[in-house]
Amino acid sequence: MRLTDEESAIFAGKFGEPRRWAITHQIAVGEFFDAADFVPVSQAHIMADTESLGVAGVQFLESLAAAPEAERRVRVPTITDPRGLDFAVYRRLGQTDKMAALEQRAIEALRAFGVLMTDTCINYQTIMAPVLGEHMAYGDTGVVIYSNSVLGARSNFEGGPSALAAGLTGRTPRYGYHLDACRRATRRFRLTATPRDLSEWGALGGIVGEACGSYWQVPVVEGIETIPGSDALKHFGTALASFGSVALFHLPGITAEEAVFAGSVPPAITITRDGIEAFLARYAAPNDKLDVVVFTAPQLSLFEMEAVARALEGRRVHHETTVIVATSPEIKHAADRMGLTSRIEASGAVVAQGICFYQSYAREMAEANGWTRLMTNSAKLVNIIGGYGYRPTLASLARCVDSAVAGRVL
């Protein structure tokens, strides 16, 4: 990689050990992907839940955070993805004091870098959305795909170490979705049925994602007749990124950039209502005893919180079923102020902030609580959670709530 004088000095350790580690890591990744140079970024977003970090990851953060302040402070605004647990509710969810202690250590280390603890995967809805052409180092696949596609930002998937490195150097290797050539469309889909709710937008993302199956594919979806809102595109994008590892999509007339194909226009794959319903049916489990209903992945917007509150109004969650509603700290505070939290919790549901369930020791929660059957309106969550020992069911918010009240999958 071509380095500027400043980058060479960082590499030589003249700006301290944290920045030397950071640029060394970034050069290894950049050279793997044939990056010619670095590109400045205006934000970094770190995924650093303690389930992923483990003790070794926390010790790594602590070792860098022990450097003098001038050497360890991030150079661009750097924020965090959801954490491993919410200190206010972790015991109710079967998480342990040991997990909480490790979480506290991670938080203290991240704060020492000057990281802003936003603990959110919906920063594009709640913190600061990027603008067209802005280069970012975002560390959550749902954040990357929404920002790249809906807003026209430029980011690769930046895992925790790489996002921290970008915060420390203020730049990232210029490869992948920072480059025009990578942003050209490669696959084409035509929709003949409009998704009816967020679970179906997620199902659509899952269908397109499975067909693409690669980070380097850029799908175009035609035939969307009404403009989807932010929450619909959030669920579509997160499922597309989860099922397909896709980081950019184009919806002609809706998303930020014109869909230009890399070569000749490929034939379109048609997605019908039957296709969407068949996707949902893969996860059906009628009448199964229902252990846990989860609303998150991504964290809920204020409008989703209000929809959950309305659906649970005057109802009581079955005594053998747990309902978890997770959102960002910003939205939780708003929901508290507007009375949404108390309306949701009056049903027996748990409202958590700053977590996203699957990043929160999901296997240990299942073992501690005896959970197997999980129901959600998040296609992303049903894709992830099977490996943690859950049997997931995907359904609309309304059907999830009805099932939670009944204590079985309806």
Binding site: H25, S52, D81, S162, Y175, Y358, G387
Partner: protein, 138 residues
Amino acid sequence: MSILLRCHKGIGSAVTGTALVAADNFSARYDLDRSKGVFSRPSHKLAGQSYADRILVLDTTKGGVATAWMLHEMKARGLVPRGLIFNRVNPILAQGAAFGDVTLVDRFERDVTQTFRSGDELRVDPAAGLVEILNRDR
């Protein structure tokens, strides 16, 4: 008696080990029980099999960013693949390999899941962009 295959220059140090191969994809979060060192996702073609100390040969990477931290954590506990061979990876696996010092190569001229067989003895040289099958010549 060996077969030599070229790939893109990779990450990590040269390693020798036994291949575990499947025409399937990979995410440390989605697919593994990291406490036991086995594939745990029921639908994965390697479900129930141990990945510890094997050279994993798979198609591509799945969604999710957690693998970037997890390879480091898995290595610290000694339950980690010895090497990773893929057709093509996403940035997360490359970042995770670089951070966790796990050997990784990709971008061959042939489909790696059809070229390598479980049980093959492999030598992976990321700096040279070479993988050698040591125990057979066809």
